[in-house]
């Protein structure tokens, strides 16, 4: 009996989501850490106006400091958590997935299922973070804010998958995700770097997401090109992850090996 492609995909997707739901630390981080960061940012950062250059609309924008801190805080929180979740499942299940693939589970369905689980995890986390922001102040475009966070989460989810497929040390993966996020969001934070006029900024992984999130908070336009930068980073990362996965799970079961 050969299962249908849908059976392969739906079974793997169900199990991928189940696996995320068993990651208690990640769930606690989502539930507690996201609103805590946003609440602290709103309470601690000065409310005084901050002028910063918003490249997505090519204009200088003035916003309350604590509102602005919520934008970078929410983005930082969702990227770290989704990156951590994807790294954790990819790293822990790596050899198990290899065994499944070698037992005959089609790899493209396994990979598609992991991607579907990532999209669900990112969507839930980002919707929750957007609600937490809306609790304190009304962004101009809350849906776009959610999409911007999702774009950043997708980028870091891709990093998590890539590092999980490549690294042999759990600690190394976690540190790399955290260090990347610190450099990434730190350098382009409108509060720390309001001018942000160096071209290098454009090449930071969450640049597009930060630009769209800030636009969603304080302007009415929709910078689609910037929104697509996250998926581009994601594709680059998962392409490397897929190559690593392919390399580790080459199916040689019926091969007549000669060299």
């Amino acid at each position: 009996m050969t299962p249908t492609p849908w059976t392969y995909f739906s079974t793997a997707a169900r199990y991928a989501l189940l696996e995320h739901s068993r990651n208690r630390l990640a769930l606690v981080l989502v539930v507690v850490f996201v609103p805590l960061w946003i609440s602290l940012g709103h309470a601690v950062v000065d409310r005084a106006g901050v002028r910063f250059l918003l490249r997505a609309v090519n204009a200088t924008v003035t916003a309350h400091g604590n509102d602005l801190s919520n934008i970078s805080g929410a983005l930082n929180a969702v990227t770290l958590i989704v990156g951590f979740m994807m790294f954790s499942v990819t790293f822990k299940a790596g050899s198990f997935d290899q065994r499944l693939a070698m037992a005959g589970y089609p790899r493209r369905h396994l990979v598609a299922a992991k991607f579907a689980a990532l999209v669900v995890v990112a969507a839930v986390t980002c919707a929750y973070a957007t609600l937490a922001v809306c609790f304190y102040w009304p962004p101009r475009q809350p849906v776009l804010l959610g999409l911007a966070l999702g774009s950043g989460a997708l980028t870091y989810g891709g990093f998590g998958v890539m590092l999980g497929a490549m690294l042999r040390s759990e600690l190394a993966g976690m540190l790399l995700i955290i260090m990347t996020s610190i450099i990434d969001t730190g350098l382009q934070s409108p509060i720390a770097n309001p001018v942000a006029d160096k071209a290098l900024i454009r090449f930071l992984p969450s640049y597009g997401a930060m630009q769209v999130a800030a636009t969603a908070g304080f302007r009415d336009s929709v910078p689609v090109r910037y929104l697509l930068l996250g998926p581009v980073w994601f594709l680059g990362a998962v392409l490397l992850a897929a190559l690593a996965f392919q390399f580790h799970t080459r199916d040689r079961r019926y091969a007549f090996l000669t060299r």
Partner: protein, 231 residues
């Protein structure tokens, strides 16, 4: 230890109990090195149907490397491996997902192996006496029970060829006995086993036994009868 005399191929074939059938596994002149360390230096064997065979050797002699190459997890530097049909591979380390229950493992592998149902897998759980753990997550199981599931995942599709790397690690005495009973039943049904082991007292249980010495497989029967093969 003196170098082994190379055994001519035709002589090797004469001693194989081929019974007019194609061997289920044929390994020829497999080499594998890690950097400068040459682990396998021309390992060869043929395994007929319904044969319970063992490969023994000291720690670090290359047993696991050989089995990984046979299972397709590792590429040999040189040499050929061929076999018919699917195989069951039980790695030395337990490869399970701690987030899933025993039943969930079986279900995933049922889909992977394209099985209609899990009746065979449930029989194996009964034989190895851990059916009562079906709803438990594998992360909460003892090492021995995890190893039982590790083994069941290699056996549940009833493949003609089984490659088992220290399959009873962590088993208690009863489970160990049950493993050998099960192996005997499967052999009678025509399945072939290649079991890697470092335990010397297992050796009497095998139909065929090879010792992995200096990266080559030395037929243990030949070794006993041929003074040139004595170490």
């Amino acid at each position: 230890m003196p170098d082994e005399e190379p055994v001519p191929d035709d002589e090797a074939v004469r001693e194989e109990p081929v019974r007019g059938e194609e061997p289920v596994l044929r390994v020829h002149d497999v080499h594998r090195a890690y950097g400068r360390h040459r682990v396998l230096r021309g390992a060869s064997l043929e395994l007929p149907a319904g044969c319970l065979a063992g490969v023994v050797g000291e720690n670090g002699s290359g047993k696991t490397t050989l089995l990984r190459i046979l299972a397709g997890r590792l590429r040999p530097d040189r040499g050929t491996v061929s076999y018919r049909g699917p195989l069951g591979y039980c790695p030395q380390e337990t490869v399970l997902n701690p987030a899933f229950t025993v039943d969930q493992h079986l279900e995933l592998f049922r889909v992977a192996y394209r099985l209609a149902d899990l009746s065979r897998a449930h029989e194996l759980l009964d034989t190895l006496r851990f059916s009562d753990c079906r709803r438990r997550r594998t992360g909460t199981l003892s090492g021995g029970t995890q190893q039982k599931l590790n083994l069941v995942l290699a056996l549940m599709h009833d493949p003609p060829l089984l490659l088992l790397d220290e399959p009873y690690q962590g088993f208690d005495w009863e489970a160990y006995q049950r493993f050998w009973e099960l192996a005997g039943e499967l052999r009678t049904a025509g399945r072939s086993f290649l079991v890697v082991s470092h335990i010397a007292f297992d050796t009497g249980r095998f139909d065929r036994l090879w010792r992995l010495e200096d990266g080559r497989l030395v037929d243990d029967a030949r070794r006993a009868h041929d003074p040139a093969g004595e170490g």
